[in-house]
């Protein structure tokens, strides 16, 4: 397992947001987190990234406790793709992706030739090399998301954590981003993403974890976990399943 934790308690300071959370992720595997807003998905993701210390339990990354890793070492193991944002300053897409190499050099060092190479290769890999010199603030939401994924890949991590990667994207870009996520796993990375769309999880994730009120109500292979019943329990609303059992899609009633 590249990432594992058991009986994890997550939260901020004295405020417990989630407890009894077990996560295990293998290389080449995609894990989807689903659940209502405020249920603890984002806090769990941040805890797995080491941005928020766990209130109980321990996260192990590549066999080592997360808390024992230095901030730079951690960034070479696990990368974060935040929700698409507008950005304050108009960095070029290339500059944005190059920032993924931050942990590879000392605080006073300029990026090396190899850093520039890796960044360029990741732009290429995500198919956005033609946007390299465009301001990040002026490309589309989908292109920004791809740039943020390229930046995460430039960290050359073993795990990529994505927070609602398809939120605020148009329909076509949602598909494009989800396919990229699948290809990350095909390249041997462990991938965790949160989503509000069970259909994305069904088609692109290997396993799913349903979180409600800070606890996991179901966890396991997507086909087993993402049932109509489980989703109705998760979201407390009526769900319709469309299609056959082998190829099902869900809609809120």
């Amino acid at each position: 397992m590249i990432l594992e934790c058991s009986d994890l308690v997550v939260g901020y300071g004295t405020r417990v947001v989630g407890r009894d959370l077990d996560v295990a992720l293998a290389e080449g595997e995609v894990l989807a987190l689903l659940g209502p807003n405020g249920g603890g998905k984002t806090t769990l993701l941040k805890t797995l990234l080491g941005l928020v210390p766990p209130l109980g339990g321990e996260v192990r990354l590549a066999g080592r406790p997360l808390g024992a890793l230095g901030i730079r070492e951690r960034a070479t193991l696990v990368a974060y793709v935040p929700q698409v944002h507008a950005g304050t300053f108009a960095f070029t897409v290339a500059e944005m992706v190059l920032m993924g190499r931050t942990a590879r050099s000392g605080p006073f060092e300029a990026p090396s030739a190899r850093d520039h190479q890796v960044a360029a290769a990741m732009l290429e890999r995500l198919g956005i090399a033609h946007l390299a010199d465009r301001p990040y603030t002026l490309v589309s939401g989908g292109e920004r998301q791809l740039a943020l994924i390229a930046r995460a890949l430039a960290q050359e991590p073993r795990i990529v954590v994505l927070d609602e990667p398809t939120a605020s994207l148009d329909f076509g870009n949602q598909g494009r981003v989800m396919r990229e996520i699948r290809s990350l796993a095909a390249a041997g990375l462990g991938v965790i993403f949160s989503t509000h769309d069970p259909n994305h999880a069904l088609r692109h994730a290997d396993r799913a974890m349903l979180i409600r009120n800070g606890t996991s109500i179901a966890s396991g292979p997507v086909r087993a976990v993402l049932s109509r019943q489980n989703l109705e329990t998760l979201y407390r609303c009526e769900i319709i399943g469309i299609g056959t059992d082998d190829d099902v899609a869900f809609l809120p009633a």
Partner: protein, 335 residues
């Protein structure tokens, strides 16, 4: 490339500013004389220029030009750093109370009839203490957005220090001390002597070098906090280092020249317009452009009217319309 030519534009502005600054005023020194004197100084040979020209150049005009360049560069670099650090293009170097602290130090110095050196030292200390207090209070207030808490603490403490300045002015002798305080608070470089450069040069160079050394990290620092940390940036210690360095240069320039607003706000925008927002290019460009900008303003201040115009007034008069024009044309630069 836009970047390289942008830096060249900044250098050209600075050089033109230097030439004009020497060439205008009560004792004009033309570019030829300036080059002769510089060449003589470098080679150690006599320049053959009249002694009066030498005196104006080395004792009066030269120090003032250098001071204007240093103060302008300092304010621009500090403003650039703070805008990145606080992820807000409307932030200026005094956001954490450096100017209001320095102002209180200076007016207290004037109230107690200290020497010029004493007033400057007190202003410098006031700026540093104010920012240290803001940082300490802001860091102690846990919870919530660190950056926002810090900025709000700066605003609140700045207002308190402003009240302190008001109180000292109220207590001051209205015939001698009050005009001196008012003059100081509006900013001026008149009467800059060679000796004044030492306390300015050291801190400005030290702080600027620290910020330049951190220029690659500052790109990532201008991202949302958690993103920066996920990229491997220890935001806490780096933020403290950037605040300390930017405060050092701001306090040094405010104590030397009084309160000069707008430079630290406008110049970073101009520099971003020239070379884009990437700090490795932006910081040096802002430094050079800031030096040139304040030099032009200071040249205007001493030549545009029969009496010296306070710098703070000129930077505001020039800066406001300029900034509005900038908002119209270059908004995509940061929005």
């Amino acid at each position: 490339m836009r970047g390289a030519s942008g830096f060249a534009v900044a250098v050209a502005v600075l050089l033109a500013g230097v030439v004009v600054a020497f060439a205008v005023g009560r004792f004009p020194i033309g570019p030829a004389d300036l080059l002769t004197a510089l060449h003589a100084a470098v080679t150690g040979t006599p320049s053959g220029l009249p002694p009066a020209v030498e005196t104006v150049l080395w004792q009066i005009r030269g120090p003032r030009v250098l001071a204007a360049v240093l103060v302008g560069a300092a304010l621009a670099v500090a403003g650039t750093a703070f805008q990145g650090l606080f992820r807000n293009p409307l932030v200026s170097p005094d956001i954490l109370g450096a100017s209001s602290g320095a102002a209180l130090g200076a007016v207290v110095g004037i109230l107690f009839s200290l020497s010029v050196v004493g007033i400057q030292a007190l202003a410098f200390a006031g700026g540093l203490v104010a920012v240290a207090a803001v940082y300490a209070i802001g860091s102690a207030l846990r919870g919530g957005d660190t950056i926002l808490v810090l900025v709000l603490t700066g605003v609140v403490v700045g207002a308190l220090l402003g009240a302190g300045v008001g109180l000292v002015k109220y207590l001051a002798d209205p015939y001698n001390q009050l005009p001196a305080m008012t003059f100081w608070l509006l900013g001026s470089l008149s009467g800059t002597a060679p000796d004044d450069l030492v306390p300015l040069l050291g801190p400005v160079l030290a702080g600027t070098l620290v910020l330049l050394a951190l220029r690659w990290r500052m790109n990532a620092m201008s991202l949302p906090e958690e993103e920066a940390r996920a990229l491997g940036v220890p935001t806490g210690p780096l933020r403290a280092a950037v605040v300390a360095a930017a405060t050092l240069v701001t306090a040094a320039s405010v104590s030397a020249a009084g309160i000069i607003g707008w430079v630290g706000l406008v110049v970073p925008h101009l520099a971003r317009f020239l070379v884009g927002p990437g700090f490795p290019r932006l910081l040096p460009t802002a430094a050079v452009l800031g030096g040139g900008y304040l030099l032009v303003i200071d040249t205007l201040a001493r030549t545009a009217a029969p009496v010296e115009i306070p710098l703070g007034i000129l930077t505001a008069v020039v800066g406001t319309p300029f900034f509005i024009a900038l908002l119209r044309t270059a908004r995509k630069g940061w929005s």
